[in-house]
């Protein structure tokens, strides 16, 4: 074959390259994004979740009262409308140990707003802490937990599943048996056991290894939530592994790693993403559940689960402090709903049967 025979003139080449760049095709991702945009419910869910993420990320920089500042009162104060009490002065930055970034954000807040803080728009709890602020700060825990599970799912789950599916045969058999074994461990008990253990040797562990309950909590979440992902991905890869484009890659001499990461993983990503939007709510609920049992996040830190605990403790037949329960529950419910709607929308948007149709 004469490769030189195909060469086009120099000017021609530049021109053609230019034109080719202009005629960029639409990737399946772009196509999916466009279709997701048309799904109004899913798109607004995505925007809502982005807002939640932004608010929780920049929580220290927002002019909210500190979630831990106690203001000893006899009972919880009901919500006040922003137009009646817009805000007050007297904010003091007292938090638990914050990270350096959060410390900077607090400094930024002090520089911009001074000691001004918002009023108790969503009321206060029995110890006079601002509910809005606690919800916002609590969302950080939920999102952190979600991120941890996502990361584990993606890194361990996808790689493990893809490798298992691609190698196939006995290796696959062995790898999947390992997953089965991990699956069969009753995790609730494991968590209870581990956390009691940590409580027992608390000081020792913290001083020597820097392991506290939160770390254990994240390790447990990480250990559980990649398993299903590994199975899902393995199933997908198993069905893709014998398709002709993988054969074609082998025939041109592609290595196993190349086939795995250039051809297989991008093709299972759509399923992975949809699956993630279903995992995240489950993880958030799991966190709330553990905290509710007293095994998760500890005061003074806040999480949505903790808010639910606090709220439910205040419920009594004589006086119902509804705002203690309704607002945290609404925050959690709307986030979970948004995640589910987004998951649904993503599944439709990434559906190969609808590809190319706008």
């Amino acid at each position: 074959m004469e490769r030189s025979g195909w060469d086009l003139g120099r000017d021609d080449v530049e021109h053609l390259l230019h034109e080719a760049a202009a005629m960029r095709g639409e990737s399946l991702w772009q196509d999916a994004l466009r279709r997701l945009r048309r799904n109004r419910a899913a798109w607004s869910s995505l925007l809502f979740l982005a807002l939640v993420a932004a608010v929780s990320l920049f929580a220290p920089a927002l002019p909210l009262p500190s979630p831990v500042t106690l203001d000893l009162q006899l009972e919880p104060q009901p919500p006040v409308a922003p137009w009646s009490v817009w805000g007050s002065h007297g904010f003091e930055p007292d938090y638990w140990d914050l990270t350096a970034v959060d410390g900077l954000l607090v400094k930024a807040r002090l520089a911009v707003f001074g000691d001004w803080q918002t009023g108790h728009w969503l009321g206060t709890d029995g110890k006079g802490r601002d509910i809005l602020s606690r919800i916002v700060w609590g969302s950080r825990t939920s999102i952190l937990v979600a991120l941890a599970a996502t990361l584990c799912s993606l890194l361990i789950g996808v790689t493990y599943g893809a490798l298992s599916g691609l190698l196939g045969g006995r290796v696959d058999n062995l790898m999947m048996r390992v997953v089965d074994v991990l699956y069969s461990i009753p995790f609730i008990f494991l968590v209870i056991f581990l956390i009691t253990l940590v409580n027992e040797y608390r000081t020792e562990l913290e001083d020597r290894f820097g392991i506290d309950r939160e770390v254990v909590f994240f390790i447990v979440i990480g250990a559980v939530y990649w398993l299903t992902m590994a199975r899902v991905v393995r199933g997908q890869v198993l069905s893709l592994r014998n398709t002709e484009f993988v054969d074609a890659a082998r025939v041109i001499g592609a290595s196993t790693a190349r086939i795995l990461f250039v051809h297989l993983v991008p093709n299972v990503l759509s399923i992975v993403i949809v699956y993630l939007t279903l995992t995240i709510p489950a993880v958030m609920l799991f966190e709330a559940f553990l905290t509710f049992l007293g095994l998760g996040i500890e005061p003074p830190k806040v999480s949505w689960g903790l808010l639910a605990v606090d709220g439910s403790e205040m419920v009594n037949p004589v006086r119902i402090y509804w705002w203690l329960v309704v607002f945290p529950a609404a925050a959690m419910a709307s986030t979970l709903l948004a995640l589910n709607v987004l998951g649904d929308g993503l599944r439709d948007a990434l559906d190969p049967k609808l590809r190319g149709k706008d």
């Binding site: 074959m1 005629m23 095709g25 002709e244 074609a248 041109i252 001499g253």
Partner: protein, 339 residues
């Protein structure tokens, strides 16, 4: 002695274990997908491998390019043994042997642009600098009759026929000498099929390619191949030059196959007599003893005794020129020239 043929396949066998029990159990039995296939392919020659589904023609092709491990036999490219090579050892030979696949919808990675599909073989073999690869991709598109400006598009933006052209361009990227075509037109509509056949024909002449063309459609093979080998149940039963095979087929199976193909001519369809075969192709898991074709053979009565049911006839010369390359071979007890 003359130089070895471009491709020499000798007694190639591919057996699949079936019914393995447990994790480490031994397979209960073997499915003999390919069972002793031999042929030669010269430089620039085009050999058609035809047969019905399950006859082992695709498995033969996959074994030749190393997608399937051969259980026995040898595959030699220019005298170099290919069976048993690992990926690294295969790599230099990949540039000489490439493959075109059947399903234009499954053979292109949907997440890659056409440009990166075509550049991938170049980058794996380190052929051309990254910037030049895009140009090479454009030149390849041009060579297969597509608009070179479409390099940045994705496979789903093309129709079936256009995708098959992209698959052909990918196979050409490494400038191979031998193209294995696994039913490249059978998934296409008639009008598009003709375009691709013409393209393959043109490319062969232009680049001096040799084809191993696998198909079930005899008319397509007649159009593209100078020599045809007919397979039945994992074996080659007849191997002859195009003119001889279509004008005077020797093996009863070839005759039946030729007579079964419908022709787009009502007058000829009305007057022609079909040799209807009895029954179905036997399962390769449980092949009949003796000649694999004997339970369905319409001419079995002509053979005296029960040789057909007892011994497997070997491929033997029944005519053709003196040159080995134009020999007409058939595997049937009916042929008096055979032992």
């Amino acid at each position: 002695m003359s130089s070895p043929p471009l491709l020499r396949v000798r007694d190639l066998a591919v057996h699949f274990p079936v019914g393995r029990r447990g994790l480490l159990g031994r397979p209960a039995r073997h499915l003999k997908a390919v069972d002793g296939v031999s042929f030669d392919l010269e430089r620039g020659e085009s050999l058609g491998l035809v047969g019905e589904s399950g006859c082992g023609k695709s498995t033969t092709a996959r074994a030749i390019v190393g997608l399937q491990r051969a259980s026995a036999g040898s595959v030699q490219l220019d005298g170099v043994e290919l069976t048993g090579l690992d990926r690294r050892a295969w790599l230099p030979h990949r540039r000489r042997v490439q493959m075109i696949f059947q399903d234009p919808y499954a053979s292109l990675d949907p997440r890659q642009t056409v440009g990166s599909i075509l550049a991938e073989p170049l980058s794996i073999h380190g052929l051309a600098k990254p910037r030049r690869r895009k140009l090479e991709a454009m030149a390849l598109l041009e060579a297969v009759g597509l608009n070179p400006r479409h390099v940045a598009r994705y496979p789903h933006e093309f129709s079936g026929g256009q995708r098959q052209r992209i698959g052909i361009a990918r196979a050409l990227a490494l400038e191979p000498e031998l193209l294995i075509c696994d039913e490249p037109v059978s998934a296409l509509d008639v009008s598009i099929q003709a375009q691709i056949i013409n393209l393959l024909d043109e490319l062969r002449r232009r680049f001096g390619l040799a084809y191993l063309f696998i198909a079930h459609d005899l008319a397509v093979v007649r159009h593209l191949c100078e020599r045809v080998a007919v397979m039945y149940l994992g074996r080659v039963v007849e191997d002859a030059e195009r003119e001889r095979l279509f004008a005077s087929p020797r093996h009863p199976y070839t005759r039946a196959l030729l007579s079964a193909v419908p022709v787009a001519d009502p007058a000829r369809e009305r007057e022609r007599r079909r040799t209807l075969l009895r029954g179905d192709v036997p399962s390769p898991l449980d092949p009949p003893g003796g000649c694999p074709f004997h339970p369905r053979c319409p001419e079995r009565e002509a053979v005296e005794g029960d040789a057909c049911a007892v011994s497997v006839p070997s491929l033997g010369r029944v005519g053709g020129g003196d040159d080995a390359a134009c020999a007409h071979q058939s595997a049937c007890h009916l042929d008096p020239t055979l032992e």
